[in-house]
């Protein structure tokens, strides 16, 4: 017996929503804009949804859009597994099951009045983009705001044109790639190499770091060496997820449930475990 009020209210039940637009960002990364005409769930930067492709499966994808833009949910992901590859084949008008939002968001309130450093590695820029929008919307509440963004190569850079608009909005954007040929006039090297020269005062800086785990470790270490207090460094963790509400046990990282205690976790909580293998 169907009970649609229960169905849409329960975090365990996917809510069918239509894809309004699909954008190809790079060769293997795409963004879906999903209709939320009913107002949709409000989300905060750093949170994620569980997206369900009918009959194929469900995956956790970070919100990558503007939390202040009503009526649409935006998610950016790589097509790397069976579900995301199926998702990559969906076009505007197709339906997707949505559960969420889930997770602990980036603690932007902790950064009020501070300098802000965002360190993004690869697809890690996507979960940070909502934070960038929020910072731009409240720009006077922060000191220097710096985005350090590292990607594999120039043609894997995300949101290229937007990065310019962010510069215009008062954010220092430094981009680097791991690998380039001569046509790339910018930085080549790891994103951690950009940390020592970031134009911020470490004593009053809050840092938000997102990317592959190895990159986050090195970035957090570099920030620490620069003098940013560990308790002011936040990372976004990733683990296998099935339920997203702390029931299934899959996403545990030590004592933390990445789905509800995270995905955003403070560096002191995570640092010790990250160097233990197979935790």
């Amino acid at each position: 017996m169907a009970d649609t009020a229960v169905a849409s209210a329960s975090p365990l039940i996917p809510h069918p929503r239509r894809i309004r637009r699909r954008v190809r960002e790079t060769a293997d990364t795409f963004t879906l804009e999903i209709e939320a005409d009913d107002g949709g769930p409000l989300f905060q930067p750093g949170q994620f949804s569980m997206l369900y492709v009918f009959g194929t499966g469900e995956v956790p994808i970070s919100m990558s859009g503007d939390p202040r833009r009503p009526g649409v949910l935006v998610h950016t992901t790589r097509a790397v597994g069976p579900v995301t590859r199926a998702m990559a084949g969906l076009r505007a008008g197709a339906a997707l099951g949505v559960r969420g939002p889930f997770g602990t968001p980036w603690p932007l309130e902790a950064a009020l009045g501070n300098d802000v450093v965002l360190v993004a590695g690869g697809i890690g820029l996507a979960p940070l983009r909502p934070l960038v929008y929020e910072v731009i919307a409240r720009r006077p509440d922060f000191g220097q705001v710096v985005l350090l963004y590292g990607a594999r190569s120039p043609d894997e850079l995300l949101f290229g044109r937007e990065l310019e608009r962010w510069r215009a909005a008062g954010i220092v954007v430094s981009i680097t790639v791991d690998y380039a040929t001569r046509d790339w006039p910018g930085h080549v090297g790891v994103v951690t190499a950009l940390v020592p020269r970031a134009p911020v005062d470490p004593a009053r800086t809050t840092a938000f770091v997102c990317g592959p785990e190895i990159m986050m470790r090195f970035a957090a270490d570099a920030l620490g060496r620069r003098g940013v207090p560990a308790a002011r460094i936040f990372v976004s963790m990733e683990r296998n997820m099935k339920c997203a509400v702390g029931f299934c046990g899959h996403c545990q990282f030590g004592p933390s449930f990445v789905c509800k205690d995270g995905p955003v976790l403070a560096w002191p909580r995570v640092r010790g475990l990250l160097s233990v293998r197979e935790v």
């Binding site: 017996m1 169907a2 009970d3 229960v6 169905a7 329960s10 975090p11 365990l12 039940i13 996917p14 809510h15 069918p16 239509r18 369900y52 009918f54 009959g55 194929t56 499966g57 469900e58 790397v80 597994g81 008008g93 197709a94 339906a95 099951g97 990733e238 683990r239 296998n240 099935k242 339920c243 509400v245 702390g246 029931f247 299934c248 046990g249 899959h250 545990q252 030590g254 004592p255 449930f257 509800k260 233990v276 293998r277 197979e278 935790v279």
Partner: protein, 366 residues
Amino acid sequence: MLPRASLARLLDVLRDDGWTLVGPTVRDGAIVYKEIEGAADLPVGWTEEQEAGTYRLRRREDDAVFGYNVGPNSWKERFFVPRLRQWQATRDGAGFHVDVDEPAAPRIALIGARSCDLHAIAIQDRVFLDGGCSDPDYAARRRDVFVVAVNCGQAAGTCFCVSMGTGPRASRGFDLALTELRDGGHRFHVEVGTAQGAALLARVACEPATRADADAADAVVAGTAAAMGRTLDTAGIKELLYASYDHPRWDDVAARCLTCANCTLVCPTCFCATVEDVTDVTGDHAERWRRWDSCFTLDHSYIHGGSVRASGRSRYRQWLVHKLGTWIDQFGSSGCVGCGRCITWCPVGIDLTQEVAAIRGRAGGT
């Protein structure tokens, strides 16, 4: 005090009131919790021999009704069911709609629940009801439950509820708690836990307990407490495990552990689950099923094309550190109730009390 002869009446009244009785009965060489018709299905005169990797049923020399401990299953399969359809979806033009089943709410009466298992139920309540999100199926099944607990009259070789502070006397979570007495007449000392329990008892012939009866019941429980098969030193255990991620003992246990997941299946508090998304042949109808899972599987920690916990060593470590350590930070208590099932049902006889003692740097565990 409930005479032995009145036990059947107690269960019959419950059944006639519409409760489904679930209690211990002999099946396939073990005492398991199954739906029973009445007192006649109880394993009268049976006992268990339990040791690491060993479970045998034995005939007793007496006719004790509850002269055994716990078998391979627990009450968790009644509330956190092994397979559950969470929803169905049907294609609908370019989209689909989702239908949710009404949660089942069978009214069950747990007959012969032991203190360790009652603590386990309370622990799972914290996982599924108190964590900020409430599981609707679990909540529906937990809503209407009658509990007739039994205080253990003997300890099995693998029991260590005393170490975990979870028994042998049932202290909460029951409507009635029975202690079986045989000296001076076969009868049960009954402790009333709730108004619902008192109301049931009032409809069955019983007499008030004398001081001597109460003392006899205390003595039975004390005797059980003194006869625990194992001990586990829980002092500072969380900190100990957090500091021991690289302890060489993990290599030792990894050489023995088959990652067969038996321990997680028999454990009354293990709650890991997975979901399966399935379709029919036409591809127009899809369902999501939740089923029990185990941290011992490679799939459990699969991410980005590989498993975070690829080695058996890391998976055993995850289970133990979670059960005795991180669980405390997550839910405010240990995840272990000392029931000993994991020790009994491990095919190679791994004993977590011994593993902890080894990590502490001491031999033994008994």
